[in-house]
C-alpha cells in the first residue's frame, strides 16, 4: 500500500466518500429473509480536506450519524467507496483496520455514557496509547496523559479521579483528550455539544476550535444544531433521508441557501432576539415530518414537504449539481436542463395537504 507516501501529499483530500449506501435489515422475516430494509444512508458523496471542519447536518433519521460510523468503519457498507488518506478503506483487512482505529477517533454525544465509570481518567484518556502501544514506560504514559489533560484545560491532579466526579462539560473534555491521544488525522465528532447546556457548550466549541488551530486537526462534525455548525464548520453537507441535498461553504450556505430543505431548516430555527425585524426572518415554511427511511418517498425524498414540488420531483430523484464552485445542490429547481419540466407542472397542493395530515 502506498499509504505512507500519500500521507505527504497534502493536496489530496483526507477523506473521500462516494456513492455511500448503508442499509440495515429492520427485523428478520419469517424465514431469515429481512422483512424490511432501513435505508439509513442511500447514496452519499462528500470530501473532507485536511485541516478543515466539515459539518454533516440534518434532522433525526437523515443518516448523518450512520455516515459518521461508516467512515469510522464501524458499520459495514452496503455500497460505495471510502478513500482515506489515499487508501481505499471500503473493505479493509485486519491490518488496515488496526491502522484506521488509530488514525480516526470519535467524540461522542453523551458525556455520561462515553466514559467507563469504573476507570480512572488516567486510564480512560490513555486507553488508545495502550491499545496501540504508543508509550513504552509507565512514566512516559503518565506524562503523555498529563499533556493531554493540559491540552483540554483540565488539571493534572484530576487524572486519578473517576468520571462521576466530573461535570458534563469536563467529561466532554476528557472524551476529547482521549480522541487526541493517538494523534489521529481525523476526528469524527457526533453531536459533541448537543447534550450540554448553553454556557458549557461555548466552552467546548472554543476548545475544539483552539485544538484545530494548534494541532491542525481535521473534524467531521455531525450535528443537528445549525447555529453551532455555523460557528465551527468551514463547509457543510446538508442531509435529508439518507441523501445529500446541499453542499456549500458556510458563508454561502447561510447567506444563500439553495435547496428548499436547507431554506426551510434555516427558517425554522428560532432566533434569540425578540426584535420584530429579526423575528420577521423566522419562516417555518415546511409542514409535516421526515418520512420513515424504511419506506422513503419515490423521486426526490423531500418532495412530500416541498412547496415547489412538481411531477418531475415525484418521479425522479435529482442529482447533485454544482451551482457555483464548491456549492452543489440536488434539486430540479436548480438544474437548468430541467427548467422546462419544472415550469410546466404545478406543485400539487393535494399532496401537500395530504402530508400535513
Amino acid at each position: 500500500m502506498t499509504h505512507t507516501d500519500s500521507h505527504t501529499d497534502v493536496t489530496t483530500p483526507l477523506l473521500q466518500v462516494s456513492g455511500l449506501k448503508v442499509h440495515f435489515p429492520l427485523r428478520p422475516g419469517l424465514f431469515g429473509k429481512p422483512a424490511a430494509m432501513v435505508k439509513a444512508v442511500d447514496g452519499v458523496d462528500f470530501t473532507v480536506h485536511r485541516g478543515e471542519t466539515l459539518g454533516l447536518v440534518g434532522e433525526s433519521g437523515c443518516g448523518k450519524s450512520t455516515t459518521g460510523l461508516a467512515v469510522l468503519r464501524m458499520t459495514p457498507l452496503t455500497e460505495g467507496r471510502i478513500v482515506f488518506d489515499g487508501e481505499d478503506i471500503s473493505h479493509p483487512d485486519a491490518a488496515t483496520t488496526k491502522r484506521l482505529r488509530r488514525k480516526m477517533q470519535m467524540v461522542y454525544q453523551d458525556p455520561f455514557g462515553a466514559l467507563n465509570p469504573r476507570m480512572r481518567v488516567l486510564d480512560i484518556i490513555g486507553e488508545p496509547l495502550r491499545v496501540h502501544r504508543l508509550t513504552r514506560t509507565r512514566a512516559e504514559y503518565r506524562e503523555r496523559v498529563m499533556d493531554l489533560l493540559d491540552r483540554v484545560g483540565l488539571k493534572a491532579e484530576m487524572a486519578d479521579r473517576y468520571p462521576h466526579e466530573f461535570s458534563g462539560g469536563q467529561r466532554q473534555r476528557i472524551g476529547i483528550a482521549r480522541a487526541l491521544a493517538a494523534d489521529p488525522s481525523l476526528i469524527i465528532c457526533d453531536e459533541p455539544v448537543s447534550a450540554l447546556d448553553v454556557s458549557i457548550q461555548a466552552q467546548v466549541i472554543n476548545l475544539l476550535e483552539d485544538l484545530q488551530r494548534d494541532l491542525g486537526l481535521t473534524y467531521l462534525f455531525v450535528a443537528h444544531d445549525l447555529a453551532v455548525v455555523r460557528h465551527l464548520c468551514h463547509r457543510i453537507v446538508v442531509m435529508y433521508l439518507g441523501r445529500v441535498v446541499e453542499v456549500a461553504d458556510r458563508e454561502r450556505l447561510y447567506q444563500a441557501p439553495r435547496h428548499p430543505y436547507t431554506q426551510a431548516l434555516l427558517g425554522a430555527i428560532p432566533i434569540a432576539d425578540p426584535d420584530p425585524e429579526v423575528q420577521a426572518r423566522f419562516n417555518p415554511s415546511v409542514d409535516g415530518e421526515v418520512p420513515s427511511p424504511i419506506d422513503p418517498p419515490p423521486g426526490c425524498p423531500f418532495h412530500p414537504r416541498c412547496p415547489h414540488a412538481t411531477d418531475l420531483c415525484r418521479r425522479e430523484a435529482p442529482r447533485p449539481l454544482d451551482v457555483e464552485d464548491g456549492h452543489s445542490v440536488a434539486c430540479h429547481l436548480h438544474d437548468p436542463s430541467r427548467a422546462a419540466e419544472m415550469n410546466h407542472s404545478e406543485p400539487s397542493y393535494q399532496e401537500q395537504a395530504r402530508n400535513i395530515a
Binding site: D197, V198, S199, A202, A227, E289
Partner: protein
C-alpha cells in the same frame, strides 16, 4: 404555517398587550426540596413570580436550574418521596393550591391548569388508544356531555391540525410520529379549555422544523382561547420568539425577570449576560468567537454561599460571596438579583 401568519404574530409580539394586567396565578416564595443519600437538594428555592391573564410567561434556565421542578410543584406533581414542597404559596383564583385538599387540586388539574410535557414519546400511555387518552380529561371533568365526547375529541385533533382525526382516534401512540404525539398532548392539554397551560420543554425532543410547527400552533391556540401559558425552556431562541415576559433561573432561584426586550437587549444579571454571549447565533458575524461562562453549575446539595453565581461570575465582588442578593426591581417590569450594577456597556 405561512409567512403571513408569522409576520403578523411577530408584530403582535412587539405591541405588548398593555391592557390592565390581571394576575391569574401568583407564586410566592416557593421552596421545593429533594432528599438524596448525601443531603437535601434545594431544587427550587424562594421562587416568586406571577402569570398574567393572556400572557406567555417564560421560565428559562439550564438543566438543574429548577425550572421543571417549579412547574411540577405548582400542580403538586412532584414525585414524593424523594421530593417535597416545604414552603410558599401558589395562589390561583384566590386559593392556595398548596393548601387544597387532594381532591380539589385533582379537579383543577387538566381543567383549569393543564400541563404539556417534554417527552411526547413517553408521555402517552403506550397501551391505550389515542382517543381513549384524549377523552379522559373530558370525562373526568365532565366538561362535555358523554355522547359528545367523541365529537369533541375529533374537533380537538382537528384544532391541532392532525389530518384524518376519526382514524387517528383509534391509533396507538407508537403508530404516530413524534410531532404527531406532541400535537395529541397539546390537544389533551386544551381539552377542557384551561386558563393556564404549563408547557414544560414542549419541543426539546423534536426536530427543528417540527418544533417550529408545534410552537406556532401552541401559541396561536392559546392566543385564540385567551389562555395564559407558562413556557419552560432552555432554548433562548424559543423564548425570544414566544415569550412576553421572561424569568431567568439559576441554581433554583430566579436571578432576573423582565420583558423579552429587557432580557435580550438590556440584561442586567451577569448570568443572563453570560448566556447571551455564550450562545451561538445565526445572526452574528461568522468567525466571531463565543464567550463561555467559566466553570459548571453548582451542586445544589452544597450550594455556594452568598450569590449562587459568584464562583462563575466575572464581576464578582467580595460582598457576593457573603450575602445573597435579593430580587430587586429595576423598573416597571425589570427585576434582578445581583449586587453589581451593570449598564448597557458591561
Amino acid at each position: 404555517m405561512s409567512t403571513e401568519t408569522s409576520t403578523a404574530t411577530a408584530t403582535a409580539t412587539t405591541a405588548p398587550r398593555t391592557e390592565p394586567a390581571a394576575t391569574l396565578l401568583r407564586v410566592e416564595n416557593l421552596h421545593t426540596v429533594f432528599e438524596k443519600d448525601d443531603g437535601v437538594v434545594h431544587a427550587v428555592n424562594d421562587v416568586s413570580f406571577d402569570v398574567r391573564r393572556g400572557e406567555v410567561l417564560a421560565i428559562v434556565g439550564e438543566s438543574g436550574s429548577g425550572k421543571s421542578i417549579t412547574a411540577m410543584s405548582l400542580l403538586r406533581l412532584i414525585p414524593s418521596p424523594p421530593g417535597q414542597i416545604i414552603g410558599g404559596r401558589v395562589l390561583f383564583d384566590g386559593q392556595d393550591l398548596l393548601d387544597l385538599p387532594d381532591d380539589a387540586i385533582r379537579q383543577l388539574r387538566g381543567r383549569d391548569i393543564s400541563m404539556i410535557f417534554q417527552e411526547p414519546m413517553t408521555s402517552l400511555n403506550p397501551s391505550l388508544r389515542i382517543g381513549r387518552q384524549l377523552a379522559e380529561p373530558l370525562r373526568v371533568h365532565g366538561s362535555v356531555p358523554k355522547d359528545k365526547v367523541r365529537e369533541r375529541c375529533i374537533e380537538l385533533l382537528r384544532q391541532v391540525r392532525i389530518g384524518d382525526p376519526e382514524k387517528r382516534l383509534d391509533a396507538y401512540p407508537h403508530e404516530l410520529s413524534g410531532g404527531m404525539r406532541q400535537r395529541v398532548m397539546i390537544a389533551m392539554g386544551l381539552a377542557c379549555l384551561p386558563r393556564l397551560i404549563i408547557a414544560d420543554e414542549p419541543t426539546t425532543a423534536l426536530d427543528v422544523t417540527v418544533q417550529a410547527q408545534i410552537l406556532e400552533l401552541l401559541r396561536d391556540i392559546t392566543r385564540a382561547s385567551q389562555s395564559s401559558m407558562m413556557l419552560i425552556t432552555h432554548d433562548l431562541g424559543v423564548v425570544a420568539r414566544y415569550a412576553d415576559r421572561i424569568n431567568v433561573m439559576y441554581a433554583g432561584r430566579i436571578v432576573e425577570r423582565g420583558t423579552a426586550h429587557d432580557i435580550f437587549h438590556r440584561p442586567r444579571h451577569p448570568y443572563t449576560v453570560g448566556l447571551m454571549e455564550s450562545m451561538p447565533r445565526l445572526n452574528d458575524a461568522i468567525g466571531n468567537r463565543l464567550t463561555p461562562i467559566p466553570g459548571s453549575p453548582p451542586d445544589l446539595s452544597d450550594p455556594p454561599s452568598g450569590c449562587p453565581f459568584h464562583p462563575r461570575c466575572r464581576f464578582a465582588q467580595p460582598r457576593c460571596k457573603q450575602e445573597r442578593p435579593p430580587l430587586e426591581r429595576l423598573d416597571e417590569e425589570h427585576w434582578k438579583a445581583c449586587w453589581v450594577n451593570l449598564d448597557d456597556t458591561h
